[in-house]
Amino acid sequence: MSSLFHRKWAKRMIALVLCFGPFVPAPAAAAPSAANLAMIAEPQTLDPMGTTADLVATIMQHVYEPLYTYDAKWNVVPMLADGLPKVSGDGLTHTIALRQGVKFHNGREMVADDVVASLKRWMEVSPRGKAVARDIASVEAKGPYTVELKLKTLYAPLLSQLALPTSMAAILAKESIAPQLKDFIGTGPYKFKERRPDQYTLLTRFDGYVARKEAASGYAGKREALIEELRFVPVPSANTRVEGSLSGQFDFADLLPVESIGRLEKAGASVVPIMTESFGFPYLVFNTREGVLASQAIRLAVQTAFGEGEMMAAAFGDTRFFTVEPNHFPKGTPFFSTAGADKYNQRDAAAAKEAAAKAGYNGQAVRIMASRQYEFHYNMALVMAEQLKRAGIKAELQIVDWATLVQRRNDPKLWDIYVTHSPVFPEPMLSPPQLNEDAPGWWSSPAKQTTLSTLNREMDPAKRAALWGKVQQVIYDEVPYINVGKFNSLSARSQRLQGYVPSAWPFFWNTAVGGK
């Protein structure tokens, strides 16, 4: 062995030791009652308004509360507001009475000034708030416990928007408001303690929490922090989340692969699998502005070629985990409608081929963009490509990572279809964003505008339900996107975590841990 070789390696070893030398020993242990909650990733931010990501909502809904929230049946009910708003005869002025005696984490009482400042920030920084702000004329305090919100035009989804945990219209202590939040001071049953990126986000019980009197129902009613410390642990590897639940390391593990259901069921009493029905829907967005699918007739031909049943089977495997149904909203919910059902799950290659030929299709490739960050997106894209080929339509798969997909979809020159998914929301205007103007896909048509503006200006919930059917029909007729079906999610909790209620954004107030 030459001395040169020795010298080279000696240098490298010294370099390595110096690279990784410094470290800080961990502080001594403490033992509060605590729950370890395995999440799918590190939260993008802790600003509850700053992102539409579900993960941020899941964590920060424990710290911050909105004026309104959803009960177990997805009705909008008051949270920090005292009751539902008083609405003026013309439907444009909402007077919101606030609960009195509600304390922020810094001990100060919440008043109307906090609410006004928070809602103004929401309209400036939150992706959802900015969209709603277009219809809001003013937000003003009318006394210490009253807020008046004036609309420019009738906007029925207002309360649903104010109640949603993602991109939340959270009420922040006025003094903590800044473009980049540094202190996370809300009114929730838990307060923020510490964030160690990629290790945990730590919340502790807020002893001064003032709960509502009504019985708990969904996100609404009485909230009680029974566990002293909530530790949200980012565990991006789904396998690691499964093994961690099986070994008892996690009290809750979010969004597990459906294939793991067998192991969870066989694991005995220590682990309880949780299925959340109609958790989300995959959808395929069509580029209506440029490329081959700018032609509505070709989009219809593609819709005829698609078999959504096959896609869902490829995506989710086990039939317990998905539903193939044309209704965009689940059965039993207010917006259930079967309008346009004949255009769903056709899987008719011959008819599609004929329709494409009639529409002037001349062999251009349909570029399908999907990410493997969500394996089911990729599996659906594979099936889609095959179904198109069967109908004589050329398909080109563009498999990219998620960060690339969310960038490229903003450029109409780069893609024809992209695959994504969304939670099932209780109000049509909350998702998908293609129902608004300017979302990727750039769907805009007279029928869209007429049906949606009728829906949005109808303040009577019962009538709105019927009006949604008309919008759904237009979606099947113009194919700006395809709602592929519904999927159920699989999570798991430990036996010792008691009182957990399955929900779209898992929450852990009113839950307790046995033992410790």
Partner: protein, 313 residues
């Protein structure tokens, strides 16, 4: 001598500039947008564009590069887009798990590799040699994520002896943190011991044929003294070198193990930063790692210069 030092310093600065340009260019050439990831799936293109302005990502690349270099020269690696803390702090937090994991794993690798290699060499061609050589081959071929999952299933899920993942709850003792490292360190240690087995075996076989070994034996020394004192003592220098090589391999290859065991180490930080395009973290981490290597090479060259007079000429 002064000329030599100046030349080496100049070279180091040139390398650092090159590293900075490459790190910046490579992160920006990759498609993807951190702000689109930050704002979530429902955000509009308009929102994304607005927030890009806040982070200065709308400026031309040369301007962004100039700003970054200016800040780096002041010792500021920037602020992570996602982690709400400076890049230096994010890096400092990750060194502890990576350092302990590598050290723990290399110890396991050496404790397995050196005795097995020694036994295989001494009983060369015998069944024990063949068994250890086969194990070494197997170790070199098994993927670390697979072995990680198997160990988790047996020792974490089945027996419950060790935690399945992570680096311990907030505020736990160092012992508890090391307890979390047992399984990942075992994976890295066992797999990397294969190289040490083979290398130790080869080195010892070389030395067994040396004249001084024959002399030691002819003096009537006990075989154990010959092997442990004369053979192993002389074989140790190349073995220590290969242990160092193994350490380097582990730090390069620990990304997979850190992911499977969800350890918040440096590798994991860089990989997650790449996935979410956290430019400041990617640039800062790569620059620091490259910079430390370059600087230490410089220091070692200077030390060699004093030790070896031929370099000074």
């Amino acid at each position: 001598m002064l000329r030599f030092i100046l030349a080496r310093l100049g070279g180091t600065v040139a390398v650092l500039i090159l590293v900075a340009v490459m790190v910046f260019a490579l992160t920006r050439l990759a498609s993807g947008d951190p702000i689109a990831v930050l704002l979530g799936d429902q955000a509009s293109a308009e929102d994304i564009a607005q927030v890009r302005v806040q982070y200065g990502l709308d400026k031309p690349l040369p301007t962004q590069f100039g700003y970054w270099v200016k800040e780096v020269l002041r010792g500021n690696l920037g602020q992570s887009i996602f982690l709400q803390r400076p890049v230096t702090q994010a890096l400092a937090e990750r060194t502890e798990p990576t350092f302990f994991l590598a050290l723990f794993a290399v110890t396991i690798a050496a404790l397995i590799g050196i005795p097995c290699g020694l036994v295989a060499a001494v009983w060369r061609g015998r069944p024990v040699d063949q068994i250890f050589s086969a194990i070494a081959m197997l170790g070199a071929s098994v993927p670390s994520f697979w072995m990680g999952l198997i160990l988790i299933q047996i020792f974490a899920v089945g027996l419950g002896w060790f935690p399945a993942s992570g680096y311990g709850n907030p505020g736990v003792s160092l012992i508890e943190r090391l307890h979390h490292l047992v399984l990942p360190a075992t994976v890295l240690g066992v797999l990397n011991s294969a190289l040490i087995i083979r290398f130790t075996r080869a080195s010892i076989l070389d030395i067994l044929g040396e004249d001084y070994v024959r002399t030691a034996r002819s003096k009537g020394l006990a075989e154990s003294v010959v092997i442990l004192k004369h053979v192993l003592g002389n074989a140790l220098v190349p073995i220590v070198t290969v242990v160092g090589l193994t350490l380097a391999l582990m730090i390069g290859g620990a990304v997979v193990t850190e992911t499977v065991f969800n350890l918040p180490g440096v590798g994991n930080l860089v990989v997650r930063a790449v996935l979410r395009r956290d430019y400041p973290v990617i640039q800062g981490a790569l620059l620091v790692i490259a910079g430390i290597y370059v600087l230490i090479n410089l220091v070692i060259d200077l030390i060699y210069m004093f030790v070896d007079p031929r370099i000074r000429v």
